[in-house]
């Protein structure tokens, strides 16, 4: 029987935040450039790529978890890395789930800009680095929507995380997986306690993000 002490709650919460941070950082640093490029360029097969992104936004996490598990399994293509049931495996799965959200929302935000936006900035002699900064400012509402969506799916995801992380105590046990575990054990009080922590975390983060998003609106 696992005793639920405050230090343990703290440890699980910290691990959850660590997983969320790395997953979010990776999703954004891969997804933003892809979304911007996809939104501002025209090439053959662009529609197909956008279609894949849109499908990915609705991909069932359990299926993603299965796919990642098959990849990381001892005899799988990436089995040699020995990542199954680790923090890295959970982050991997979370990125696969969150990436289409980041790309899709960035793509939509960038696509809403005037098609001559880049040309206008270029003919004003604005250098590339400044143009990138201006572009991010331009799409900041969409950008924060992408962060909120990605963070939400990362913090609340359980299917994929359970499959590739395994809910190992002290290693891959996060808030969602422990809630599932305690519920299965009939320990509803503990489930409810951890659910409150998760909810509080989510509310706090979305409050901060909403404040940032709405700042400077006049």
């Amino acid at each position: 029987m696992t005793e639920l002490t405050w230090p343990l709650v703290g440890e699980i919460t910290a691990r959850t935040l660590r997983m969320a941070f790395f997953s979010l950082a990776l999703s954004l640093s891969i997804g933003l450039p892809i979304g911007i490029l996809l939104g501002r360029s025209h090439f053959r097969g662009r529609r197909a790529v956008v279609g894949i992104v849109n499908a990915g936004m609705g991909a069932p996490p359990v299926v993603v978890g299965l796919a990642v598990a098959l990849l990381l399994w001892r005899n799988g293509p990436l089995g040699g890395l020995g990542l199954m049931y680790s923090m890295e495996a959970m982050v991997f799965a979370q990125v696969v789930i969150a990436l289409p959200l980041v790309v899709g929302i960035t793509l939509a935000a960038v696509g809403a800009l005037d098609s001559d936006w880049d040309l206008q900035a270029r003919t004003l002699g604005i250098p590339a680095a400044w143009r990138a900064w201006l572009l991010l400012r331009e799409i900041r509402l969409g950008l924060l929507a992408a962060v909120i969506a990605a963070l939400g799916s990362i913090l609340s995801g359980v299917g994929a995380v359970l499959m590739v992380g395994g809910n190992l105590a002290g290693e891959t046990r996060v808030l969602t997986t422990s809630i599932v575990m305690f519920t299965e054990m009939g320990e509803f009080e503990r489930s409810i306690a951890l659910a409150c922590v998760l909810l509080g975390l989510m509310l706090m983060l979305s409050a901060v993000l909403t404040a940032i998003q709405q700042a400077g609106r006049r």
């Binding site: 001559d116 270029r122 004003l124 002699g125 604005i126 400044w130 400012r137 331009e138 900041r140 006049r218």
Partner: protein, 352 residues
């Protein structure tokens, strides 16, 4: 003659997509400091492509764009594009990114906003401006860079008549004060005339005429140019005989003849072109030579100008009067008026 600030030489730009191919072919076109070149043409004639090529946004298939001016070449697009943030930010970001000091950027921002009458909007969110204010912002931003060449794509689009006029006055003054070389593209002749010193006419990708404003307006090289530059009285005729009495007369048929300053050889098929403002009604003999009576069919007035449609014994002719003054107040359809023209204001285009 001074050298052009920006010049297109033997320029060919090809654009192709699934719908078809388009080729822009301009052998020589120059923009001069302190002067406005209006580029006219129908939709799809290649006006915007030419402007983008001059801005360096279209890679030419042949020929080149020669830049002689020391200073930026900048362009203002047909749909005004502003950056998220305040009005000031829109100018400042362009200036600071060009490496100017904060003080200099601040100074130029003020100067340019004042020049276009929007200094009071400096701290406003650019996204909340009206259509006219947004146009002014995009122009102020371009002028703040102190460009040597400014390329304007339909700068008066979506503005009402009063807005067009006041913006054209500010723009005209800014061009005079800064000595920038300007090309303005528009499909609307009246808007072009608000600014133009010189006029270039494009027809399906080719530059068919380019010259001083009055020269192009009064002496278009072909029928299409004549229509584009507003020479709306066009009559097909043939030089059948030219007769004397000190004036050279061109006979159209038994009952119509028109005085011309010089006529081509007899038998040459021509278009006879008279600008509406050059066809006079009921004036003294000193102001033109009478060509007969015209019956007023319609009178349309927009409050500034009245356009008269007249029947010259079978030919339809148009002329303009100032609305609400003199003749324009008393005329009614059915009235018969004496029509006069000056020989030097009758333009002949060879018919092929």
């Amino acid at each position: 003659m001074t050298e052009p600030a920006l010049e297109a030489r033997d320029l060919i730009v090809r654009r192709g997509d699934r719908k078809g191919r388009f080729e822009l072919d301009v052998s020589a076109l120059g923009l001069f400091a302190g002067e406005v070149l209006a580029v006219l043409g129908h939709n799809g004639a290649g006006k915007s492509t030419l402007l983008r090529a001059l801005a360096g946004l279209e890679a030419p298939a042949a020929g080149r764009i020669v830049r002689r001016a020391n200073g930026p070449v900048t362009m203002v697009f047909q749909r005004p594009i502003v950056f998220a943030g305040t009005v000031e930010h829109n100018l400042r970001v362009a200036l600071l990114s060009a490496g100017l000091s904060r003080d200099e950027a601040e100074h130029r921002t003020r100067e340019s906003l004042e020049r276009f009458g929007i200094a009071r909007l400096a701290a406003r969110n650019a996204a909340t401006l009206s259509g006219g204010e947004t146009r002014r912002l995009t122009l102020a931003r371009a002028f703040a860079l102190r460009p040597a060449v400014l390329l304007l794509d339909e700068p008066f689009e979506d503005l009402d008549a009063a807005g067009q006029e006041s913006l054209s006055l500010d723009l005209r003054r800014a061009i005079l004060e800064t000595g920038v070389a300007v090309a303005v593209v528009t499909h609307d002749l009246r808007r072009a005339l608000l600014l133009a010193d010189r006029i270039a006419v494009l027809e399906s990708g080719s530059l068919v005429q380019c010259g001083a404003r009055e020269a192009v307006l009064n002496r278009p090289v072909d029928l299409d140019v004549a229509r584009i530059v507003g020479m709306s009285n066009l009559i097909a005729g043939e030089v059948s005989a030219t007769s004397g009495d000190g004036i050279c007369w061109l006979e159209i048929d038994a009952s119509h003849r028109i005085p011309v300053s010089r006529a081509p050889a007899a038998g040459t098929p021509v278009w006879i072109g008279i600008r509406p403002e050059h066809l006079k009604v009921d004036v003294g003999r000193g102001e033109g030579i009478p060509i007969g009576k015209g019956v007023l069919r319609h009178l349309v007035s927009d409050g500034v100008a009245a356009t008269l449609t007249l029947d010259w014994a079978g030919f339809e002719l148009r002329t303009h009067l100032i609305a609400g003054r003199g003749l324009a107040r008393t005329l009614a359809p059915g009235d018969s008026l004496t029509l006069s023209v000056r020989p030097e204001e009758v333009h002949l285009i060879e018919r092929r």
